[in-house]
Symmetry: D3
Subunit: 340 residues, 6 copies
Amino acid sequence: MERIVTFGEIMLRLAPEGYYRFVQANSYGATYGGGEANVAVSLANFGLDAAFVTKLPKHEIGQAAVNSLRQFGVDTSKIVRGGSRVGIYFLEKGASQRASKVIYDRAGSAIAAAELKDFDWNAIFDGVSWFHFTGITPALGDTVAAITMEACKIAKAKGITISCDLNYRKNLWSRDKAGEVMGKLMPLVDICIANEEDASDVFGIHAQGTDVSSGKISREGYEGVAKALTDRFGFKKVAITLRESISANDNNWAAMLYTGDISYFSKKYPIHIVDRVGGGDSFGAGLIYGMLRDYSPQEVVEFAVAASCLKHSIEGDFNQISVEEAKKLAGGDASGRVQR
Amino acid sequence: MERIVTFGEIMLRLAPEGYYRFVQANSYGATYGGGEANVAVSLANFGLDAAFVTKLPKHEIGQAAVNSLRQFGVDTSKIVRGGSRVGIYFLEKGASQRASKVIYDRAGSAIAAAELKDFDWNAIFDGVSWFHFTGITPALGDTVAAITMEACKIAKAKGITISCDLNYRKNLWSRDKAGEVMGKLMPLVDICIANEEDASDVFGIHAQGTDVSSGKISREGYEGVAKALTDRFGFKKVAITLRESISANDNNWAAMLYTGDISYFSKKYPIHIVDRVGGGDSFGAGLIYGMLRDYSPQEVVEFAVAASCLKHSIEGDFNQISVEEAKKLAGGDASGRVQR
Amino acid sequence: MERIVTFGEIMLRLAPEGYYRFVQANSYGATYGGGEANVAVSLANFGLDAAFVTKLPKHEIGQAAVNSLRQFGVDTSKIVRGGSRVGIYFLEKGASQRASKVIYDRAGSAIAAAELKDFDWNAIFDGVSWFHFTGITPALGDTVAAITMEACKIAKAKGITISCDLNYRKNLWSRDKAGEVMGKLMPLVDICIANEEDASDVFGIHAQGTDVSSGKISREGYEGVAKALTDRFGFKKVAITLRESISANDNNWAAMLYTGDISYFSKKYPIHIVDRVGGGDSFGAGLIYGMLRDYSPQEVVEFAVAASCLKHSIEGDFNQISVEEAKKLAGGDASGRVQR
Amino acid sequence: MERIVTFGEIMLRLAPEGYYRFVQANSYGATYGGGEANVAVSLANFGLDAAFVTKLPKHEIGQAAVNSLRQFGVDTSKIVRGGSRVGIYFLEKGASQRASKVIYDRAGSAIAAAELKDFDWNAIFDGVSWFHFTGITPALGDTVAAITMEACKIAKAKGITISCDLNYRKNLWSRDKAGEVMGKLMPLVDICIANEEDASDVFGIHAQGTDVSSGKISREGYEGVAKALTDRFGFKKVAITLRESISANDNNWAAMLYTGDISYFSKKYPIHIVDRVGGGDSFGAGLIYGMLRDYSPQEVVEFAVAASCLKHSIEGDFNQISVEEAKKLAGGDASGRVQR
Amino acid sequence: MERIVTFGEIMLRLAPEGYYRFVQANSYGATYGGGEANVAVSLANFGLDAAFVTKLPKHEIGQAAVNSLRQFGVDTSKIVRGGSRVGIYFLEKGASQRASKVIYDRAGSAIAAAELKDFDWNAIFDGVSWFHFTGITPALGDTVAAITMEACKIAKAKGITISCDLNYRKNLWSRDKAGEVMGKLMPLVDICIANEEDASDVFGIHAQGTDVSSGKISREGYEGVAKALTDRFGFKKVAITLRESISANDNNWAAMLYTGDISYFSKKYPIHIVDRVGGGDSFGAGLIYGMLRDYSPQEVVEFAVAASCLKHSIEGDFNQISVEEAKKLAGGDASGRVQR
Amino acid sequence: MERIVTFGEIMLRLAPEGYYRFVQANSYGATYGGGEANVAVSLANFGLDAAFVTKLPKHEIGQAAVNSLRQFGVDTSKIVRGGSRVGIYFLEKGASQRASKVIYDRAGSAIAAAELKDFDWNAIFDGVSWFHFTGITPALGDTVAAITMEACKIAKAKGITISCDLNYRKNLWSRDKAGEVMGKLMPLVDICIANEEDASDVFGIHAQGTDVSSGKISREGYEGVAKALTDRFGFKKVAITLRESISANDNNWAAMLYTGDISYFSKKYPIHIVDRVGGGDSFGAGLIYGMLRDYSPQEVVEFAVAASCLKHSIEGDFNQISVEEAKKLAGGDASGRVQR
């Protein structure tokens, strides 16, 4: 079985139940999530051997984060224990015209305060065939960026495929800083994943004919983005998710996969949203799974989009979807009829 | 007041709250339901004298099932107490493209293990004008099928109207077995109820021009199904519900009533679903009510469809709708404006 | 900072969670609300100095009502304490074709049993620039109507702007009685607010070309209503909300503001409803805010409609929306994209 | 099977969960209860045919009260439907030195506003062998007191045994008024039930050597009370519960039964309290059951005390205890070992 | 690190929240537990390499059971997947004089229906130093008893220490049958664990001077039991837990360890119970841990009793206690002062 | 009305419901608390004009903290808004021998990162008669210690009474550092409050004959502590709470007040604990209230101990007790009988 390693931060997610606003909350649902952790859980749910690497405090909140991962079969044995706090994000679910809102409280987390020597990448990468991270990880600070760079170099040397989801977070770093740091990491990356805004935010590569805030998405524009990214960094493949946000409840969801010459566009799904956090991560996991299973490019993008479409119907960051369920949807059954 | 008896299984329904998946559930909402029990509750809510007949253990879980029925005015005095377990079904509510999922855990339930001598149908049918069962009941096992046959014969002899909802459950028996057993019961039945798939599953009678998985429904095709059923078994009336499943959240809902010569089609309602389990049962209850009240065929089918349309907005198996509410909707007020 | 006073009843609102019906409820969410209290909270959330005047018992349920207001910054120092009960309303949330349902249990509440001497309006109106009440308050009984009249007269004498939301409640009084009592209050009112049915219910002024139950709304018809109201009572401005109820889940929401010569129509928002109670009150608060901030008429109606559109996404009677959020929506961003 | 009728008010009970105070409550557990309703449920749980008589509104809150009774097998067919509200009581559970607190909001309830002609006692008492009420019922108002008197007279004429639990409520009437009204009803009563304070509150009959607030209870004193009550009103039997309140969590619980010559004292149970409301009512039900089953006086009081001891471990007003469970405890097994 | 294998059934545990009775439950807390699973989780929480062996269905309820184990670090890779249902037990928590109640619904579970060939014990026991099972496992049926026997024989051949907790369950088999089957397994067992009733139930070995139902426990009596068990079966060590049940809330808890010549008695702890299910299993786990760590006999029994004392303060079957916490209590700090 | 100012940190408190451990928590109850905030709320509940001073972020979590205070009538107008995070503490409630556990996550909070210029103490202290802080505040960092010093100096200059609760927190600073910083603040303090360990932790002043971990408390020893504190720092009064911890559920609670010559000892209350966090703060508030009301020393300490005894029965940090309730207990009624 292929073994995948993902590296990043897992946070305690505190969300008022239902559609309550923060100022109305008397309790918070407590789950855990983070870009790369979400990918690891999704891959484990697909039956792969997925390990998540991070640093977490030894105390019970840190332990609960570990438990949340191993519950779903993720290998947590490479997680370094130490540091003083688990990063937190508060999530308020939007509805109709009211947007969902995230308040980050992640400064000083164990991983953000980690040191280079905490991670023995040669050991971590033993027997591994794929390494995945997102743009959030190097954004956590210069040391974490350096750790990421070291990981990429060792992965490269070992012939491990590297994928990166650009995942720009404006509250963590500026566009300039992101462009600079990510620009150095990208040449080591094989598979680049982005959403409809990332390439513009991080590298200033804009999609022609698209206005995200109005929900208008141009297929041709994103083909151009993928080509530009490939030209600049030499990616083997570029995948871009194409979210049309009609309201906080209703989104259209599709993606494209660019293989250096051809752009493969998926079906587009109109989604009634339960929880859209982790949507992009579930796409990344689907993409990795499809490639590891040697699906054709069209099959890869259809599988990844179907898996991530279904994620939007799942509470929490983690995608709780099986390969069979994603395949069934990709195969055309979107009727939602009761399965008895 | 007319007295109606329904016969079948009532199960403990265990459902994670909201849209949580089974693997995320830390608690289960515990309600009770089952095809014929649902019909009895709905009729009691309409103000009729409805009795539900089954077998339930003497322990507290059995008692809770009894209480769930008498809470809504169902006569539970004919329920036989004994046996060792209450059948269970686990229900995971779907959303958007993700289908709802049912896991049955009903083998060995008290009613499935019941004996012929447990039920004194002559006493049970004293003062009764209508008997209703569904195809689920004989599917529980050969003995229960025999009990059902005995009930039908005695009902017939007493001049009681018999209705049956075909309700095919593939996890309980094969299409062949269903066809064989149901084929013997049908000649005793006056009113046949079916959904858009049952006639095909049980008797191999297909609707022309219809592809359920794609959501395409042909009115003419179902007219043909009703006619074929009537021709084969001599039903007085055949009613068929016509569900178009757009997603797990959105369905269109309508029905037809065939009276041996004319097909009466109801309005079609676009439904935003709260809980669709028991939708068909609430239709059956509406049908029985309308017929007992001597509504015209068009009124019958409109009332039954309106009542069952509203069921989709109710949590749990039981339809908690009054006659007035169903009539108001059938009369055209679907605006959902606040009633103060 | 401008100081606004609103006067009326605040009730304990008891609502089953989610979409449960009253007969299924084993617990009730307990919040507080009422037309004028809702306006006060909304204005306080906008950063204004808003005081709510009522009478509430000294016991803990009365105290909890007070706390619910001061939690959001409303000045409760003018609330008279005494009387024996807090009015209650039970709220069942509708879904799809099933309407929401309100059962009032407010007879004998402290405010309904209040006396003229309980309120020293000269003191209450010290430093106040705006007074707001709704048609519910005088409907609570003759004494409360007299108190309201006294308040209006003193406000008028002090040059305070007076706004009134007609808010007809058929369970509190007849159309005739409402017309009579409100007819005497209206000449003191500067700004009249109404929904699409109030003018007809209270004053028999019908909108041409409109059938509320069918969801059909005529712009021209409401222009005529506003003009007729202005002609009869001499209002400075008339604002009318225009709700098209497609189902209990989906409404279209817009409004007009008539300034004596010109009608300003807002954008129309299709809303997926979380909780529509207090929708009109949040409009009124937006209107008052916009006028106090000297927005142009078009800006006023757009701000008020955006604020009240967002209210429909908020649980509870109180609108938990900031000025910035309302402005952002009024400015065109309705995409509901996650705010990180 | 013996048929028992109880008559009184059933209220909606709204209680914050756990040990939350009213001012902290964001939701209320919603159950139903009232002295005579509690007795009816307890008797139905013992397997008897118990009917509860009251008046309740036709709306859904009234219906929910009905359902709460028939769920446990109480005959609700004699309940009159009409009136405008269901009485409410708010209950805050105490802990340690902090006392439980009740806020009544029952004025104007359907039963308090009922009329003499609402109840056809000759029909209600058909086939009945026992009639039970408490001192709360006549305290609801002069008309309800008159209805109670009529019920007692007709019961007496039909040879029905009448029991009354004095149950003094100082917020409903004064001691003088209670003494006057109850003094007229008592001569019709066969079995008088009281707690350690009632006889003093209602009839000024004090127990020597007892100071309830200090938790000191004198057996001899209560023997004197029972004798004095019997001397004054000619009761066949007098039962008195003897609660020693150590804290809101811990009470000692015992009772005596006086048969006109001998006082039978029960064992005394140290109780760790889950919910003490309805403790006295569960004692009354046990007493009635024991007498109907012709237990010996000692057996009667032991059964009644054991049943009511167990009530203190049950959430809600209703005693959810079987005859077997009460007998097991009365028989000496108080170890609380797990029953597998 | 030592590797321990335990073998048995893990069930879905459905428990009403707080002190609600089954007939009051509208939802069930859903956790998982079972004698041997509980031991495995406790050992994993102590930091050991613990694997649990059973058979579970492939469906989501089976998966949830697996997840509940791996969440706490138990190795679930040896669990066989197949069969149709997960065993269930319903648990109602007792209070004061009201006993906790368990209703088993475990017939036909995957493990009860397992076959000999499902388990490859040679592979399972690879690298294992300790094997643990309880008397519940062979009670599941003759085949499971045969599987257990096979496991014991192979373990014995491999020099693995075998421990067995007698754990008699009267609803699974008779005392005679238990004595017969267990009598054949015992000669293979090294360490025998029992509670204060097991030896009597299974082997007819009674403790002198003890009456469990009265809470009276004789130290000397249990020394005799341990000696008799050792004489009959040749155990290396016998450990007996000594529970004195004062009420459902309050128990005294202690234990003895007999090493063939000397009896080591632990301190006795007065416990205020949160959840006593799994108390014995947590003792077994503590015992195994102490022996694997080569604690002295007195240290072993003190550690095991402290760990299991703390279990009574933990919700659910699983003991969520660290080695440090158990040692701290065993070391004398029982004050429960806040740890900041 | 006297105006009191308290200064310190208010944190988001995240606590699993009931007795769940952190690793079992799927949701956290979200309330707010902190030593000085707790005192302010308690004083506001006593009817005084209490203001709380701190710094809180502008975002919604900061706003929720503000709302939690003004809900109970605390003046929040002096709170500075800014900074990036709200301090958090995780609280796991202990039971029986298992201790409660607190995990602090407060580094980098807005108040800990506040600057001297954030607070204009001359303005804050306008019209103020009492200033209160605890040893936690200067422990937040050198700058906050300097702010505290400045506040004390200005308070002193204005003739404001200053009280300080030593409240040593070992996770915030060392005993040496605490002694140094607090040693400089103490000469400005009039009223010193301490628990049974603080004087020893901060100033090395030990109580003779006392072993806190064993629950043994010597009255004479604490008289000596009070005298030594007074001798060293010149306090006007010293109050010491005397907690005997029997288990996490059961504590004895008492206090002494030393007035420079006489020690006044309160009654001792055996408490069954609901939530003991904030127990000391509620004592401090009671003390301040009693002194402001010019109670005699014995009355002061009895009132303060009664108020804080009752706090142990209240969920959350804030003491939700009225003056009347505290007086009733101080007056001798500890029976916990239901208040109807």
